[in-house]
């Protein structure tokens, strides 16, 4: 029985291991990996390549900032559930614990043929394998009237940094009984439930200090992530405060004016006392520069996260087309581990395991009311295919919602320590 069980099981769920051929490496020199971008994808990739290769690969992380403020939980900061300092992280752990070389500079361009990254300082670093995880750039022009200047009056707060503090000040300073307008981005964008969690946290702020305030969401879409769950939560916790207007209903945002704070649609012109506008997005510029994009995003080989355009470059996280995975920090972290394993295999001949991807996104609707959605994925030839998943249900009891919120706190501490320590 035992024998048979073993055979059947191995046959059913075999973990395939492939040994990749080792490239010829100059005697004495360690193979070099350069990672551009120290966020959810890049920090994780740098750490895992350095940690698992135990000194056999030289890893350099090029990251513009010395401190990384996570976009994840920035909404909780808006709702006063987190202090700003608690969402900031440094890179000492990567350097000290894993020997990652930190270079705090902008990567300006990539020379694919010479396998070099050119830095802002004028210096360049050569690589055997390059990982690009630059996150997103914003397409300001996608919303008529929005611009780099308008972002201080109508913060997008969709990249880490000071924008989110600015937004919070504007929310807190909004006149009593005023109107806040939220413009979410069109698909695809980073963090599908993010704009709706943001609205929830702003409503939570208003409920405490400005209870007659209103929130109008002018959506360029006709449906959104976890819609039923958010709508139920808004009705329950913030009755009458939030109005979601779909593209079908308002007919499109024709023009916005940051000076007068007006939003012109077919339906009406909306006047805001404070606002957040999140425009359409594309892969961070360096990905375009390296020529690994096709339009706004970068096509990848699902099994390894290698760019389809250059086998020596891996693209992770938001910048990649990792259909059907959403653009999230969890996804980027999961993709980074697949790429790290593949890179190590190709540079040192270590075992390459069957790729396994996963994602879970928690959102906070109100105090102790957390919801979640998650899925497992596997690589096929065409895409990263969903194999199973779950989503919170409407009408769940409050103990489960509280436990879900507590899980999200555990996840935040888990993923940030996974990235940075």
């Amino acid at each position: 029985m035992t024998k048979m069980k073993r055979r059947t099981f191995v046959g059913l769920a075999a973990a395939t291991t492939t040994a990749l051929s080792m490239p010829s490496i100059a005697f004495g020199a360690l193979p070099r990996v350069v990672v551009i971008g120290g966020g959810a994808g890049g920090a994780t990739a740098a750490k895992y390549i350095a940690k698992d290769s135990k000194g056999a690969i030289d890893v350099t992380l090029v990251e513009a900032s010395k401190r990384y403020y996570t976009c994840f939980f920035s909404n909780l900061y808006l709702g006063d559930f987190r202090a700003y300092g608690s969402i900031g992280h440094n890179y000492y752990g990567l350097a000290v614990n894993h020997g990652v070389n930190m270079v705090h500079e902008w990567a300006l361009s990539v020379n694919n043929a010479a396998k070099k990254v050119n830095l802002g300082s004028g210096e360049s670093i050569s690589y055997d394998k390059l990982v690009i995880s630059p996150g997103i750039d914003l397409k300001f022009e996608s919303v008529n009237g929005y611009s780099a200047e308008a972002q201080s009056k109508m913060p997008h707060a969709w990249k880490s940094g000071t924008q989110v503090q600015l937004l919070k000040n504007q929310v807190k300073g909004m006149k009593k009984g005023g109107t806040f307008v939220m413009v979410p981005p069109p698909n695809p964008y980073r963090c599908p439930p993010g704009p709706y969690e943001r609205v929830s946290m702003i409503a939570h702020q208003f409920k405490k200090s400005n209870p007659t305030a209103k929130i109008v969401i002018l959506d360029p879409k006709n449906k959104f992530s976890k819609q039923g769950l958010f709508m139920e939560g808004w009705q329950k916790h913030y009755p009458g405060m939030i109005e979601w207007i779909s593209a079908e209903t308002h007919g499109g945002i024709k023009k916005i004016n940051a000076a007068t704070m007006e939003f012109e649609t077919d339906l009406d012109t909306f006047k805001a006392d404070a606002a957040s506008v999140v425009p359409a997005q594309r892969a961070g510029r360096i990905a375009m520069n390296a020529g690994v994009n096709n339009g706004d995003w970068c096509p990848i080989v699902p099994a390894s996260m290698q760019a389809q355009a250059d086998e020596n470059i891996y693209v992770l996280g938001d910048a990649s087309i990792a259909k059907s995975m959403p653009k999230s920090g969890f996804s980027a972290n999961s993709q980074a581990k697949v790429a790290a394993n593949h890179i190590r295999g190709s540079l040192t001949g270590s075992k390459v395991f069957t790729p396994r991807f996963a994602n879970t996104c928690w959102s906070l609707v109100a105090t102790n009311d957390g919801i979640k959605v998650g899925a497992n994925y596997k690589a096929t030839d065409e895409k990263i295919d969903k194999t199973s998943g779950f989503i919170s249900k409407t009408g769940e009891d409050s103990n489960l919602r509280k436990a879900t919120y507590e899980e999200s706190i555990g996840w935040y501490s888990g993923i940030t320590s996974d990235m940075f320590s």
């Binding site: 029985m1 048979m4 069980k5 073993r6 059947t8 099981f9 191995v10 059913l12 769920a13 075999a14 973990a15 291991t17 895992y48 698992d52 969890f330 972290n333 999961s334 581990k337 394993n341 075992k351 395991f353 396994r356 996963a358 879970t360 979640k372 998650g374 899925a375 497992n376 194999t387 199973s388 998943g389 779950f390 919170s392 507590e406 899980e407 999200s408 706190i409 555990g410 996840w411 501490s413 888990g414 993923i415 320590s417 996974d418 320590s421």
Partner: protein, 106 residues
């Protein structure tokens, strides 16, 4: 074909229900390297530095206890959407490899 299916069902039932499985000394198909690799999936949620805030700590657990707990999620005996999803795609080889790797962690 049919007999093969019945055999498979018996095998699966045996795997899921045999309590002594958890105490088996021999971790069938276990590979510590594979376990370490798989553990990367867990530490996105289970803080690797051992903090157990919001999500329980899983390092330092006895092998048999670990296997019993994973199987409870896999059989959906224990409720938790994320852990049921995690356990769902762990086969015998994965569970045993994780168990072996975890037993070697201090």
């Amino acid at each position: 074909m049919k007999s093969k299916f019945i055999l498979l069902s018996i095998v699966v039932c045996f795997f899921l229900m045999n309590k002594s499985y958890a105490d088996q000394k021999q971790l069938v198909g276990a590979d510590a390297d594979y376990g370490e690799h798989l553990f990367g999936e867990c530490v996105t949620c289970h803080n690797s530095t051992g903090l157990g805030q919001g999500i329980p700590k899983i390092t330092g657990m006895k092998t048999s206890q670990f296997i019993t707990k994973i199987l409870a999620y896999k059989t959906k005996e224990k409720e938790n959407a994320v852990m049921q999803m995690v356990a769902e795609r762990l086969g015998e080889e994965e569970i045993n490899s994780l168990a072996l790797y975890l037993s070697k962690l201090k």
